[in-house]
Subunit: 607 residues, 2 copies
């Protein structure tokens, strides 16, 4: 299937947008009028530039407030005539006409049909066609079936429908009937996903659209019906999104292309992706550390019961282990702060995992290795994390020489429960689509919460067996000049069977938790005094879900300026991540860094 993207999806001026769309492999574009208006290139020059880049111009859009505004019919036809001139220069033959929003528009289908027929006649005279679209907030025409009745009534070969998934799916109009639209009468298909939001539909549409797979709409179902109606045109993305409007267009275009590849796979149409292999869990997590951060993290791991079991054959890399948890400290990767530089997942078929990632436009990472070192394949995630695929055989461990020590029981840690990665502001939705698609995960939770330094959004993904869980977080607004929080913290959470035994093995609570938290916990959950005391003594955080599932959490301080560890115990099917406790943890981290004095204890130190 041909893939197109509306220029309005991308930031920049037209030259930026065309280059980005071409580089990401799109076949064509929808030209948004404002992008042309501000360009110094003539229509013919734009046409020539697109041709050079291998892009077709599939649609010129939008033409507004045309139909059923009788007082302005002549002026509107004159306006259309000028736009046909522009289209001729561009070499594009299809114009989008969206349903009138003008207060002067008349509620008269017959009049609308006759106006559109007149416009289609003029278009046909120039070898052009008109695609009529019902805006979800159109004054009189706001549903796809209404626009289809008008198009049928107008009955002109140069007049057809434009269907936009947002306008259709944001309303409750049933979509089954789309499959019955006369073949050939859907002239154009625009795709956008979106989160479900309770707000004015116009604002929702203009600010919060997303690429397919990033929102909550049933895009496969919708597109399937359009294809059932015989549509053979491009799948074209039209996404108005505040973040994409100001993010690097080259990256947004790749994100957009990935969304279409994943959508086609979900629909079982077009090229299929290699199926996502089953995952057995996290094989290891790797931290890039410089000298001081390295010893800081090593000490933290030792405190959690880990043992240094291996030293890499050729690199300054240590392997720490406890139960099924392996942490690699890599001094060869040096960044300003300690960084969760890589995660490795055990795949039933690493080769297929890698092929799937490549098909989803994941950049492959070159991996240097010595003669006896495992040939791990890795791809780069949008947040810069390397993702390795390993086999069940753990061949990668041969890279390490044994220190002679072996991991004992430690503090009872069993395996990685989840990995938590704060995302760069511009790339949160991109990262979600990436990890979900590449690893074959489902979305588990989306939460928003007020943290001490601003609002946060958290979205978690996991495989069906809950062996690989991944929690992504992002600030709701990009951090500004006042940003005392840890910048983009990252963490690894380890599972334990008995949080109290683990806490006892660790000894003194690693991160002090306020007494006020426990007083509130007692009030909120009506826990027994004994349980609250035990939680308080060990600095364990607690959460409970609506079905009574429970989560227990222990945190370390921030290490290496950016990273921390968590220990969790899940009971009774708790499937979340304790987001309600995140502000407590974040404030505790801040106070721990500040060593905040107590009032009356002398000193008024602040920051």
């Amino acid at each position: 299937m041909r893939r197109s993207i509306a220029t309005v999806c991308l930031s920049g001026t037209l030259d930026d947008k065309l280059a980005a769309a071409a580089a990401a492999g799109f076949d064509g574009i929808e030209l948004f009028e404002n992008d042309l208006v501000v360009s110094p290139w003539s229509p013919a020059e734009v046409r020539s530039r697109c041709a050079d880049l291998g892009l077709t111009i599939d649609l010129y859009q939008p033409f507004r407030d045309f139909e059923a505004v009788p007082a302005r019919l002549d002026a509107n036809l004159a306006r259309a005539s000028r736009k046909f001139d522009v289209m001729a220069g561009l070499g594009v033959d299809l114009m989008l006409v969206c349903s009138s929003v003008s207060p002067d528009a008349v509620d008269d289908d017959g009049l609308a049909a006759s106006h559109l027929r007149l416009l289609a006649t003029r278009a046909a005279d120039r070898g052009m066609r008109i695609a009529y679209e019902a805006l979800a907030w159109g004054r009189h025409v706001s549903t796809w079936d209404h626009s289809w009745r008008i198009v049928r009534q107008a009955d002109h070969p140069a007049l057809g429908l434009c269907l936009d998934s947002f306008h259709v799916l944001s309303r409750s109009t049933p979509v089954d009937g789309i499959a019955d639209i006369t073949p050939g009468r859907i002239f154009f298909l625009q795709l956008a996903d979106a989160p479900r939001m309770r707000m004015d539909v116009l604002q929702w549409s203009r600010h919060h659209r997303l690429f397919p797979g990033q929102g909550s709409f049933d895009l496969p179902g919708f597109v399937g019906r359009v294809l059932d109606a015989g549509y053979t045109g491009p799948l074209s993305l039209e996404v108005f999104n505040d973040v994409f409007r100001q993010a690097d267009p080259d990256r947004t275009a790749v994100d957009a292309m990935r969304s279409l590849v994943a959508l086609e796979d979900l629909m079982g149409r077009g090229e299929r992706l290699p199926a996502a292999p089953d995952l057995a869990g996290y094989a290891f997590t790797e931290f890039g550390v410089d000298g001081p951060a390295g010893s800081d993290l090593a000490k933290a791991l030792a405190g959690l019961g880990f043992t240094l079991v291996g030293q890499h054959r050729s690199k300054p890399v240590q392997l720490w282990e406890e139960g099924g948890c392996r942490v690699v400290l890599n001094s060869a990767v040096v960044r300003p702060h300690a960084t969760l530089s890589a995660v490795a997942v055990t795949s039933d078929d690493p080769r297929r995992s890698t092929a799937r990632a490549a098909a989803l436009k994941a950049p492959a990472l070159p991996r240097e290795h010595g003669p006896r070192e495992a040939d791990l394949t890795a791809v780069a995630a949008p947040d810069g994390t390397s993702v390795f695929f390993t086999s069940r055989g753990d061949a990668w461990r041969d890279d390490f020489l044994s220190t002679g020590d072996s991991a004992g029981d430690g503090a009872g840690l069993l395996a990685v429960d989840h990995v938590g990665l704060t995302q760069p502001f511009d790339h949160f939705d991109e990262a979600g689509l990436f990890y979900r698609g590449v690893l074959g995960l489902d979305r588990v939770t989306t939460e928003e919460y007020a943290a001490p330094f601003g609002l946060m959004r958290s979205r978690a993904y996991a495989d069906a067996a809950r062996r690989v869980r991944l929690a992504l977080t992002v600030a709701l607004l990009r951090r500004g000049e006042w940003a005392p929080a840890v910048a983009e913290p990252q963490h690894v959470a380890f599972a334990t069977r008995d949080i109290f035994a683990t806490a006892a093995a660790i000894g003194t609570p690693m991160l002090p938790v306020p007494d006020n938290y426990y007083d509130d916990l007692a009030a909120r959950f009506a826990l027994t005094d004994d349980l609250v005391d035990r939680l308080r003594r060990h600095g364990i955080l607690y959460d409970r879900d609506a079905s009574g599932g429970e989560l227990f959490q222990l945190y370390t301080p921030i290490h290496g300026g950016r990273v921390f560890f968590e220990v969790v115990q899940r009971r009774g099917g708790y499937d979340g991540f304790g987001d309600a406790n995140a502000p407590v943890r974040m404030a505790a981290h801040r106070h721990n860094r500040l060593d905040l004095p107590h009032p009356g204890a002398g000193g008024n130190r602040r920051r």
Copy 2:
């Protein structure tokens, strides 16, 4: 009147918030429960810290889902009892109970009243009181009059109302009846402004509240009625705002205090501000320039017909003049880019203007001056711009030695039409309140538009006589790593009586405007071919308002990396700023900087 602020208005942990509230001069705080829960300070320590800072704790909030949830009454009373313990530690005697949102809440006013009466009895036993508040999205109780009926029915001296301007004014419930509430029964008053938005009221409340004077609500009218009902408690700000949640709390607290000072003045209660004197216009605008930027700007001014008429007696400062426009180039103020460092407005009473600014917490700027130099008073705006107040006598001109040249007709520029300042993201609403209050301006327009590199918001202010206009802009989202636009551009627009004569005097268009723009203009406005040709020839942008008022605009390129000039002609009462043309200007500036090649002209240069 006592002034309080809810801790939820401010970013940071509790220690940050208390320090900021005290530094800004607040008398008290509302303690938001979550701020206490994450604090390592015990309630007694918080009490002690507040006492040290001179802050009272006026309210503990919120207690949720209490009334009319019969199945949980005992558990809720036990929960309240634990919160009373906390309040005793804090030394606060007033608890906010907001109307239930629980799906288990029953629609039974009698039951709600009896539950609240029971709670008030328990509170009274501890010497405490309950303020009951109708949330705008309460399940059964969502209006102030409904909450008042229940409080009357409960009839307990320890039970009264909390009125929150957002919950009241976001709904259409009439407010006149508030004045008839029994004196003494309004226990607490919370204030928030907000822009009118078409969205879910809970989301609107949680993300978009503003300080009084920054939104669209009639706060003076509302507060007046509450005071008429005999309310004598604090005016307390409770503002949930995504930006304030992550901005510097010290600055936010000052912004908050300014909003209360201005509100009390508007209401004619409490301390009155010195009235804003009439303004005669901009006396001068000053640019801070280093060497190269200085000659760049000097050349641009000469191109616009300005003459260098004065040299400062003691500083490397030039005075350029044309008609009533004066521009000062100051090489003593060196920043990375040329900067619109100061604006001077001619005030009928500079001393009173300064006193008003001081009362509105504007930081006064020290001004060094030599023996013959005018003693100009200046204050610092939130965006860093200095604001001078000068008298009609133009005494400040004595600071300059004449170059011997005098300003001729130049290109026909008459006076400064407006100044345009891009605001730092965190301080847009703060800046609006500041300029409006200090200069005594009204809000004229608020617009949002899609610019090439992201969405922009523009808000303009002017005095009633339209002698001082000021346009503030801000990116809707803070700029990120991909930010090819000019960072925070600034400009001065000069008025002309005849834009075509000015353009002819200037000669070649300074900033090329795309042909596509004129083609579109012809289609949009049905202008005569002759007019479009003249606009095109001179690179003049055009806008027309709904009443037929017209705006003509000419732009220079960006100078000194950040600033530009504009020439405008207004016809027929046009009162806006041509925001529809802003994206055209921004793209033109980008293309001008890039010297973008035309396709086929050889070369594929990009960025």
